[in-house]
């Protein structure tokens, strides 16, 4: 199954093989999770929301027309879902203001997965990058996640966010400029 294109997997699901959807989840769970996490900044909440999105994607799979790439469709859903989710949590924000930081997850970044890049960037720096990235205004943080973490093309991002290409460029460069300034101030880019 892992050799199949997204469209081929989707076709199977639509043809009745619901189990084939597992492959889609495997392919995209970390990507969606990272995006959602950058929005909600809480591990458990991000995992729950990511799951909601997959369930919803499965349920509305038939509305995927195959006119766009599957992953741009999936991300559009994700982006919209997060917008609604944020509106909702903002309404509830007066109730629970300070969420405990997810220390456990921080440990995770800290100790394991980043070792892939070992030697190049130390973990503390990476934590600072994450921290500063997450402090950027929504629009800039979001677009840097899509471009500089996930590596999607300008065109893909344009469809995902439903904004034009010129806007995509402006946001990417503005976001980077802002982040660069903050990282410099924290002594990371000298």
């Amino acid at each position: 199954m892992s050799d199949y294109s997204d469209d081929a997997v989707i076709a199977r699901v639509l043809a009745g093989d619901a189990d084939a959807f597992e492959e889609i989840i495997k392919r995209y769970n970390d990507k969606l999770f990272r995006y959602v996490y950058s929005k909600v900044n809480n591990y458990d909440e991000a995992a729950d929301v990511t799951q909601d999105i997959f369930v919803m994607a499965y349920e509305s799979l038939a509305s995927f027309r195959g006119e766009s790439k599957f992953y741009t469709w999936l991300f559009s859903i994700t982006i919209n879902y997060c917008k609604n989710h944020q509106k909702k949590s903002r309404r509830q924000a007066s109730v629970s203001i300070n969420r405990p930081d997810d220390t456990e997850f921080e440990m995770q970044i800290h100790d394991e997965r980043v070792d892939i890049e070992a030697g190049v960037i130390d973990r503390d720096s990476l934590r600072i990058v994450k921290e500063e990235l997450f402090k950027l205004p929504d629009d800039y943080r979001e677009i840097l996640v899509l471009r500089d973490i996930e590596g999607y093309s300008y065109n893909d991002i344009s469809s995902m966010l439903s904004i034009n290409l010129a806007n995509v460029k402006v946001r990417i460069h503005r976001g980077r400029e802002m982040l660069k300034k903050r990282l410099s101030e924290r002594g990371l880019l000298s």
Binding site: D3, Y4, D7, A11, R12, L14, A15, G16, A18, F21, E22, I25, K26, N29, D30, F33, R34, Y43, A47, T50, Q51, D52, F54, V55, M56, Y58, E59, S60, A62, S63, F64, R65, G66, I77, N80, Y81, N84, K88, I109, R113, V114, E117, S125, L126, V129, L133, D148, I149, E150, G151, K169, I172, H173, R176, E177, L179, K180, L183, L188, L189
Partner: protein, 247 residues
């Protein structure tokens, strides 16, 4: 000395995609003679490398996540329409539509069997003339793949008000379903929210030519859950889905 290269252009240069050849050349010419811009570019690149390393973030237990999500999906009680070629063909014929198909190898139709519906006893809710022509209206629709067979057991009034909240035109309210017509954008909004509205899902969705969608919710008895059948393995090149139906 010419002006330094702007941040935007350096940032674009670091991406190596959106530049014209001429601009690329002019940046490179400047970089060759300007240490300060070279440093700036190096800082941008370092930052991009660090950002890219954040890919290390991910779900702590990915396998468990996949398992749980699949379990939730299969417990949902809904079914993605299953395929049976003969059934799809018969359905299409019943609705008097011809299929325009994109073919490469085997064709797999993805239509549900709802076309077999014979004229429902419609209880008109408003004066909309379409209220009595529900099944027929699909014949002039372009039927997209957006036809899901989902279970739903919500009440009539709640369903009507859900649709009305999305500025739907109510087409029909019968004992077994509620049907409305919504704009595509409202439909998407509905997709984004019905998960939160007690799991209300349309039983059937079709796309009109003009960007509107006709959605039908079952009310009353939960729909029968269709048994899952597995589809035989097929080589990728053989998979193409029946896309358009039109008159």
């Amino acid at each position: 000395m010419m002006d330094h290269v702007s941040f935007d252009r350096l940032s674009a240069y670091a991406d190596n995609t959106p530049l014209s050849v001429a601009d690329k050349t002019s940046i490179e010419r400047h970089l060759a003679g300007c240490a300060s811009c070279r440093d700036e570019l190096a800082r941008i690149r370092k930052m991009l490398q660090m950002l890219s390393s954040l890919k290390g973030l991910g779900l702590v237990d990915s396998d468990r996540f996949v398992r749980n999500t699949m379990r939730r999906i299969s417990d949902g009680g809904h079914v993605v329409h299953r395929v049976s070629k003969s059934r799809a063909v018969r359905s299409a014929a019943t609705a008097a539509v011809a299929a325009s198909v994109v073919i490469a190898g085997t064709i797999f139709a993805t239509m549900g069997g709802f076309f077999n519906t014979t004229g429902p006893t419609t209880v008109a809710r408003n004066e909309d003339p379409r209220a009595v022509t529900v099944p027929v209206s699909y014949a002039h629709n372009r039927i997209s793949r957006a036809m899901n067979v989902f279970r739903s057991d919500v009440e009539k009034d709640a369903t009507v008000s859900l649709l009305e909240r999305h500025r739907a035109k109510i087409i029909a309210v019968t004992d077994s379903y509620v049907e409305g017509r919504v704009s595509a954008s409202e439909f998407n909004r509905m997709l984004n929210t019905f998960y939160h509205l007690g799991g209300r899902r349309p039983y059937m969705v079709s796309s009109d030519m003009d960007g509107f969608k006709t959605v039908r919710f079952l009310v009353g008895e939960p729909a029968q859950r269709e048994p899952q059948t597995s589809v035989p393995a097929m080589p990728e090149s053989d998979i193409h889905v029946l896309v358009n139906f039109h008159r």
